[in-house]
C-alpha cells in the first residue's frame, strides 16, 4: 500500500464512521476543535483504524498525543513501517 493509499484509507474510514465532510479533512484539521470529535469518538477511532489496518494500537502511548489528521497519518504510516 502506498503512502497516498494509506492516507486515503484513513480519511475515508474516519469520514464514514464520523460522517465527516471530506472538504473539512485537511491534514491540519484538529480532531476536536475542527472536526467535532470527543473522547468517546477517540476510542472508536482506534477501533476503526485497527479494523482498517489489522493492527493493534490501543495500548500505544503515542495514540494519546494525536490531535490532527496529519498526526494520525504519520502515526499509522510509522506503525505500518514498524511492523513490516
Amino acid at each position: 500500500m502506498t503512502e497516498a493509499e494509506v492516507i486515503e484509507l484513513i480519511d475515508s474510514s474516519l469520514a464514514e464512521e464520523f460522517e465527516l465532510d471530506r472538504a473539512d479533512m485537511g491534514p491540519t484539521a484538529n480532531l476536536y476543535e475542527d472536526l467535532g470529535l470527543d473522547s468517546l469518538d477517540t476510542v472508536d477511532m482506534v477501533i476503526v483504524l485497527e479494523g482498517a489496518f489489522e493492527f493493534k494500537i490501543r495500548e500505544e502511548e503515542a495514540v494519546r498525543a494525536i490531535r490532527t489528521l496529519d498526526d494520525i497519518h504519520r502515526f499509522v504510516l510509522a506503525k505500518i513501517e514498524q511492523e513490516s
Partner: protein, 411 residues
Amino acid sequence: MELTPVVITGVGIISPLGNDFSHLMAGLRAGRSGVREVAELEQVGGLRSRLAATVSDVDPKQIPRKFRRSMSNMSIYAYLASQQALTMAGYPDDQLDSGDLGVSIGSTLGSTITSENFFADYFRDHSLERMKTGLFFKMMGHSCAANVAQSFGITGRVFAPSAACATSSQAVGYGYEQIAMGKQQAILCGGAEEFHPLTVATFDIMHAASINFNSCPDTTPRPFDQRRDGIVCGEGCGILLLESKVSAEQRGAKILAEVVGFSTTSDTSSIASPDVGAMVNCMQLALQDAGLSAAAIDYVNAHATATEQGDIAEAEAIRQLFADRIPVSSLKGHLGHTMAASGAIELAASVGMLQQQELIATLNLEQIDERCGGIAHLQQNCPHPVKTILKNNFAMGGINTTIILRSYLHD
C-alpha cells in the same frame, strides 16, 4: 398533600400509521391498517407469523451524529416523537435545562437488534476488541429516556419504567403523579419499541401470535372478533408532554386534555394469563383516583390485543363495570401491538378522539365473539359526545394499568 391538576400540552408519534399525530389520527379515522408482510420473518426457523406493524419513512439523519451514535431505533423514535411533542406544546428551549422538565420514557427491553449484532460478532472469536463505545448506551434499560434527556439537554428527573405492554401507560401514570405532587412542572412521558423477530417469536411460541392471515395482512389482528387468532407485533413511539395546569396556563400553552386518574396493579394469578377480577380492580382504582364513578366514563379504549384469553377477560371486566352503557373499542386492529409504545400511542389517539368528538371503532371486528359480549362494541367510527375516557393496558408479567383522560374543552 394538595395535588395540582395535570394536563397534556404536546403529543409526538412515530407509528405504523404515520410519523406524527395528524397522520395517526387520519389513518385511524380512515380505517387504515399499519400491518404488513415482513419478508425477514420468512427466514426465521419455526416462526409461523409473517406479519408486523412496522414504521417507515423515519430519517435518523435528522438527529445530530453526536446524539445518534448512542441510539438504536427505539431511541431514534423516542427522540423524534419527543421533538414533536415539545414543538406542539411550544415548550421554551430555554426551559429545557431549568430542572422543571423531566423524562419518563420506557421500553420493553434494551435494543435487541444491538444485542444480536454484538453477539453475532462476539461469537466469531469471543473478542471484545471490535466493541464500540455506543454499544452499552443502546442496550441499557433506560436508553430511550437517557438519550432524549441528553439530546435535548433536559436536566430534571429521568426515569424509565419497563413493564412490557404496560410500559408507556406506567410512564404516563408515574409522570402524572410526580407532576401532581409538584416534583416536576412538566415531563415527557411515553414509550418506544423497535421491531425484532424475537418479539414475534415470544408470542408465537405461546400460541398468541396471529398466524392465519399472513396473506392478507390488513385483516388482522382482530380484537374481540370470532376469528381472532392473536397479536401482530408492532413498533413505534408515543410521547405525551404532561404539564401542570398552572405551568401550561402561565405559558399560554394550548391544553389538549387533562389526566385525571391512574392506577397500576400486579395480577399475581399468572405471569402470562389475565384475571378478570384484577382488571376490574385496576379500573376501579383509577376511577377512585379520579374521584369519578363508572357512570362518568363516556368511552373505554381497551387494551384488547386479539388474543383468545385476553380479549375475553377484558370484555368481561369492562362488562362488570360498565355493562353495555358506553362504547368500547381497541386500536390494535389498526396499529398492531406496539408493545411498550402502545399505551402512549393509544392515549394520544384518545386525546384526538376527545378533540374531534369522534370515536374510532375496532378495525377487523366483524363477528363479535359471544364470549366477548355484553359490552357496547364500536364497529363503525362515529361522532359521539365524549368528555371522559378510560384507557386500559394489561401486560405480560401481570402488570395492569388504567389511565383516565378528560376533555379540557367540553365542560
